[in-house]
Symmetry: C2
Subunit: 149 residues, 2 copies
DNA sequence: AGTATTCATATCACCTTACTAGGGATTGAA
DNA sequence: TTCAATCCCTAGTAAGGTGATATGAATACT
């Protein structure tokens, strides 16, 4: 029941872009890969998914690279995970398909309720943390003083 | 990110045993399979895991079968899931292994914290529902009046 | 003895994961 | 123009998980 490593790489990459935030600077795939420990070619695909999800934007050509397309406060961890794991990344309910429409006995419905509640808890946890929250946590852990009021 | 069908089958089977609870009666695999819609031979293995986890006890030979080893109030949905999916069924953190010991940068630690919180939310949801809760829900849904005070 | 049933393994086809490799096309700076 | 980089596509692989099915042994009721 684990998320795949793509989620971890995607979050590390997004966090890396948030931390390197020279206002309009971009970071190369290879640099992000080095800093995050992700295989470069693999990360290329991951960042591609983030771009198609509107989380990252890229500039091509020499001196190109990637940057966040949104302020970190508007990117939730859940968004990043959904971007790389697909639309039902947070569906944990067993069985790949829709339940047979009428076929729901009382037990089936009781379990359906259980899974639904659990999915909500999962989503709430992942959507309750923004990239900004993660940045703040990293900076606190790094002993960087916070001068904001 | 789904749980496997074994979790669904296991929960249905456990719920079925709780509902059929003639005090010391046992239910055959084939009957549980018919009522839950699980493939009989596959269910046999699933129930085996529940037995080894101490959730179910079985009697062999003719007229043998299965029953719950504990009162439904003491069996949590999370216990059933862990029994069939393995000890780290509720670990969602990407990457199969322990993180490389010293290698934790501040970002890694921030993400570690995120995953830990999410795992806790997952476990809380699944451990917050007992078989007794599910039985009650099924009986309410079936329009069975509740005569308890 | 005969039969019903659990219990334990082994096997299977299929899919997903986490890569690695290679290349071609496009874009933009120097 | 040349080079650096993103972008996009294909393909392959080793390992493991999923959802079963098959076979047979152990056990216990009749």
């Amino acid at each position: 029941m684990r998320f795949s490593l793509k989620s971890e790489y995607a979050l590390r990459a997004a966090l890396d872009l948030a931390l390197q935030a020279s206002p309009s600077g971009v970071a190369r795939t290879s640099d992000v890969a080095r800093r995050t420990g992700a295989p470069a070619k693999f990360l290329e695909a991951v960042i591609g998914q983030l771009r198609r999800a509107g989380i990252v934007e890229s500039e091509r050509g020499a001196r190109g690279g990637h940057r966040l397309a949104l302020p970190p406060s508007r990117i939730r961890a859940g968004d990043v995970v959904r971007a790389v794991e697909g639309p039902d990344a947070l569906s944990i309910r067993p069985g790949r398909q829709r339940p047979p429409p009428g076929a729901a006995g009382a037990s089936t419905r009781a379990l359906h309720h259980l899974w639904t509640g659990t999915e909500r808890a999962l989503a709430a946890s992942l959507d309750g943390v923004s990239l900004e929250d993660l940045v703040r946590r990293v900076q606190e852990a790094s002993g960087v003083p916070d001068f904001s009021i």
